[in-house]
Amino acid sequence: MNILVCISHVPDTTSKINFIEANTVFESRDVQYVINPNDEFGLTRAIWFKEKLGAQVHIIHVGTPKSDPTLRKCLAIGADKAFRINTPALDGVSVAQELAAFVKSNPYDLIIAGRESIDYNGAMVPGMLAALLDIPFVPNCVGLDIDGTTAVAEREIDGGREKLKGSLPMVIGCQKGLVEESDLRIPNMRGIMQARQKPFEIVPPQEAIAATQDVKFEKPAEKAEVKLVPAEDLDQLIDLLHKEANVL
């Protein structure tokens, strides 16, 4: 079985978010980039399939050489081969088109992506990819079992879960729950050394056209000082929530 894991490379969760050039560009200086947390859950599950079922695990990323350390880390964790489609990730549509073109000429049994990337929170690449390939898609995936040619994938819905069955190939958009935090792997020395020998292919882009463009950023307005209410006077809190905040 061949599994492709789509990796997006995002600012670490503790990053301060700032903008430059009159708020038109994200300030990436001093920002630590990491594997998108949702993708790391997916990669971990893929490596589990590799160990249990002998699957081959490839990773793919649409982006510039700046992402290479993130991709090397995926190899160190256990992926067998990396592909980078060599073009900046412009928007969800163009990334999905680049990925779809790649998969059309390099078929996989299962394509694992993250629920969303934590920078632009688009949650669009995996669904668009599935639609472009005309194969099933399960988002918010928290459970996955594969049986030969079919997969049963569980997705989180508002207030519950739904189990869906479909034939492979399939795209899933996964999140925590597919594996737990304690299952995540930290690359060890051996993994890091091995990663240097693993194949890393640079793929020429299709030059897909973006459908959207981010033109300006804004930071939320500074919050007014919190109003503290003494613990002995909760009536005051109820009064404030009722009359001032209008939420009761």
Binding site: I17, V138, P139, G159, L164, G166, L228, V247
Partner: protein
């Protein structure tokens, strides 16, 4: 050119967020000066959208009664392409976010999720939306002729604007489903994080799962959904689907009450877009107070039961 508003239903009735999505769609169409209609699947009360300015509803009932993303996306796509629909307005539920990218790919449309306001420019259409998990906003231009816009929960609000509403039954082209529903589990009768107006959330400060009745009782009085911080779900005190934050569910309710939660940046990122935040914490230096509107410095084990009692009395009078 026209606007199509996709509203969701459950158990044959419109979902709560239909009012907000409809309000946005109607205002959006007005701003562009083009016509609009709403499309609903299996909603017996679809005519109630008239309350929010929708004069025309397309009602589809010849598709699967349970939500089937691919079939629903095909049905919407078929209708949209035959009726010169150029802008599709949807919500931000798990189901809406399932359909939207499928639909955008089929329609060759640009898709902007988590939109919080009407377009600030019309050519090209430019919308403001949340990004970096609520740590910032971005203005996104949609460069395609056809667009899909996902409206954030509780971002735009509901606008009452009663008009006469006609519901037209339309048959969708039938399409094969590529997924079979094997099972569905749903907590019934309880507000969900996505749907609720109020969320009551507990953190590690509650010491253990045996104390969660404090959260549940407060939530019950407020008709609120319950939520928790990540360590609480990691330790298995609460189920994973209650975990909110940057790596969990986003919360954008009118009122978010955080109890025994320190306010780490990853937690705040997921709840920042809630309108009013109340923090109860025994440490006056807890970072959450900086992000809160109202705060009580005190022991949750004393404050919460008292607050629940007082709210009960308040609600009884109201």
């Amino acid at each position: 050119m026209s606007v199509l508003i996709i509203v969701e239903s459950e158990n044959k009735l419109l979902k709560r967020n239909a009012a907000e999505v409809a309000s946005y769609g109607v205002a959006f169409a007005e701003k562009l000066n083009i016509s609009c209609a709403a499309l609903a699947f299996h909603a017996t009360n679809a005519n109630e959208l008239g309350q929010y300015g929708v004069a025309k509803v397309i009602h589809v009932s010849n598709v699967s009664t349970h939500f089937d993303a691919n079939a629903y996306a095909n049905a919407i796509h078929g209708f949209a392409s035959q009726n010169n629909v150029t802008h599709i307005i949807m919500g931000s539920s798990a189901d809406a976010k399932f359909i939207a990218p499928l639909l955008a790919a089929k329609l060759n449309a640009g898709y902007a999720p988590n939109v919080i306001a009407l377009p600030d420019e019309l050519s090209p259409i430019t919308v403001k939306r949340t990004a970096f998990t609520n740590k910032a906003f971005v203005h996104t231009q949609l460069l395609t002729a056809c667009t899909v816009i996902g409206v954030g929960n509780n971002a735009f609000g509901v606008i009452e604007n009663p008009v006469t509403c006609t519901v037209k039954e339309v048959d969708a082209e039938n399409s094969d489903s590529n997924l079979e529903q094997v099972a569905i589990e749903k907590t019934t009768g309880k507000a969900t994080i996505a749907d609720a107006d109020v969320v009551v959330s507990g953190g590690r400060g509650l010491k253990g799962p045996e104390n969660w009745h404090l959260i549940e009782e407060l939530a019950e009085v407020l008709d609120a959904a319950t939520a928790c911080s990540k360590p609480v779900s990691d330790m298995g005190w609460r189920s994973h689907d209650e975990h909110v934050g940057q790596t969990g569910k986003p919360v954008s309710t009118n009122l978010y009450i955080a109890i025994g939660i320190s306010g780490a940046i990853q937690h705040l990122a997921g709840v920042n877009s809630s309108k009013v935040k109340v923090v109860i914490n025994n440490d006056p230096d807890a970072p959450f107070f900086k992000a809160a509107d109202y705060g009580v410095v005190g022991d949750a084990f004393e404050v919460v039961p008292k607050l629940t009692q007082k709210l009960k009395a308040f609600k009884a009078l109201a």
